[in-house]
Structures are given as structure tokens and as C-alpha cells.
Symmetry: C2
Subunit: 148 residues, 2 copies
């Protein structure tokens, strides 16, 4: 079922174009990348592709459930294959480092929210900000209180 997606496209009246194939290939290869990174990757094969095409392709692929995105901070969103094992991102606010952890890590959260708030968590979209292990080691808890 590696190539099933093009049938999905055609079945819904969409066309299979090289641009869309390249975008999907880039998302697959880069694992998590911003539209611009995807664009750069696509351009290595087809240099004429426009960034707006990347956005349109991502929107379509997302709508078809082939890819998803997460916000890993302030800037551009990060896209990855929906088929990839879902995972949660831990983003270190200090060094920017991104760690992926398996969804089991958040299972207790998911069930607690479901149970207490009737909320169905989109685990693949979850990003947790904080401080990573090494940054804590570098500067043990300081908090934002008055320094001096």
C-alpha cells in the first residue's frame, strides 16, 4: 500500500501531479519539516516549483489525511506523514532541541482529559514546551524571578 495515495487522489477527483508526489516524498523523507524546507527539498529535483504550490499541496495532503502538522514554536509549522507512528514533540525553550517521544508517554494525560473533560486529544498534534535534560544540567533551575 505504498502508493495507494494516488488512487485516493484520483478517486476524489484530484490529479496526481509531479509536484504533489515530490511534496509527499519530501515530507516522507524529512520527517518533520517546514514548508520552506520541503520546498528546498522539492527544488533539488524540480527547481521550478513555486512555494505557493508547496502550500497548496500540503493543504490538500493534510485534508486527505496523508500528512499532518504541528507547531513547534513560534515560526513555521512542521509537517510529517500521518502514517508515521504518532509521536509527541518535546521542545526545549532554551536550546530549541526537539525530542520525539512515543505516545505512551502521554497516555495518562489522554485518558485523564477524556475522563474528566470529555476531551479527545489529538496526540499527533501535541507539543510540550519546557527544558531538556542538558539545559537543566547547564543552569540548574533559576526561574524568572529577580536575578540579583
Amino acid at each position: 500500500m505504498t502508493q495507494a495515495w494516488d488512487k485516493t487522489l484520483r478517486a476524489r477527483g484530484y490529479r496526481v501531479t509531479p509536484q504533489r508526489q515530490l511534496v509527499l516524498a519530501a515530507v516522507t523523507k524529512l520527517e518533520h519539516a517546514t514548508p520552506e524546507e520541503i520546498w528546498a527539498d522539492v527544488q533539488q529535483t524540480a527547481s521550478g516549483v513555486n512555494i505557493s504550490t508547496i502550500y497548496r499541496a500540503l493543504e490538500l495532503l493534510e485534508q486527505l489525511g496523508l500528512v499532518t502538522h504541528t507547531h513547534l514554536g513560534h515560526g513555521a509549522p512542521s509537517y510529517h506523514l500521518a502514517a508515521d507512528a504518532e509521536h509527541v514533540h518535546l521542545v526545549c525553550s532554551e536550546c530549541g532541541r526537539i525530542t520525539e517521544v512515543p505516545p505512551e508517554a502521554v497516555a495518562p494525560l489522554v485518558s485523564a482529559l477524556e475522563r474528566n473533560h470529555g476531551f479527545q486529544t489529538d496526540v499527533g498534534h501535541l507539543t510540550v514546551f519546557g527544558r531538556c535534560e542538558s539545559c537543566q544540567a547547564d543552569a540548574p533551575a533559576s526561574g524568572p524571578g529577580p536575578t540579583a
Copy 2:
């Protein structure tokens, strides 16, 4: 200690200006608001204040640890008082509804991440995307698979 913040400012060589006071007041009052919403509120008192001043004030207040922000989706970030009880935001991807839940709800997650990944979660910055109770009721689980 309601007004302690102006001492904090002066102690660090920053000045206490009406603009900053108004921004802090707006953040306090609005609970969670985007820079533009804060701007609108500030303008009700001082119509001449420029949006760039809002951004600069927010940056400063955040740096001082008086306010924090979270990303409640794609658009602009949402600011709130750091002193406010920390809370987690649940954002419904379908209707956009925002629910606040107490940090206890995510305590199991926090300790699991700490334990297994040495990661120190910034709870106040945490936003969970998913589907709220009422949207689930409206359209029971459909997933993005082929519809027909």
C-alpha cells in the same frame, strides 16, 4: 504586592511608563489575549499607543517573568499573567473552543516526562489540541479516511 512590578522594573534600570502599565493592566483584565486584542484594550485609554509598543512591552514583561504566552493554534500568540494560576489550554480543532483545565490534569504527564526523559515541562505553555465534548457529540468519530 499588587504593584511590586514597578519596583522590579526600576531596579533593573527599566522605566515605568503609562504604556507598560496599560499593557499589564490589559493582560490582567483580558486573561488571555493576543497582542492585537491587548492593543485594542490599551487604546480605549490611550488611543495614540502604537502596536509596536505593545509588542515591546509584552516582550519586556515576559522577560521579567510577569507575563507568559502560549500558542493557541496557528495565529497570534495568547498572553496572560504569569502570576495567574497556571492552567492548560484545551483547544478544539473543530469549533475553536478553548477550555482551561487545572494543571493537576496533566500532572501524570509532567511526572512521566520528567522521569522517563528528564524533561521539565512548562505547564503554563502547554496547549492540547483535539476535539471537545460537544463536537464529538455532533459528529461521532469519523477520522480522515475515505468518506464514501
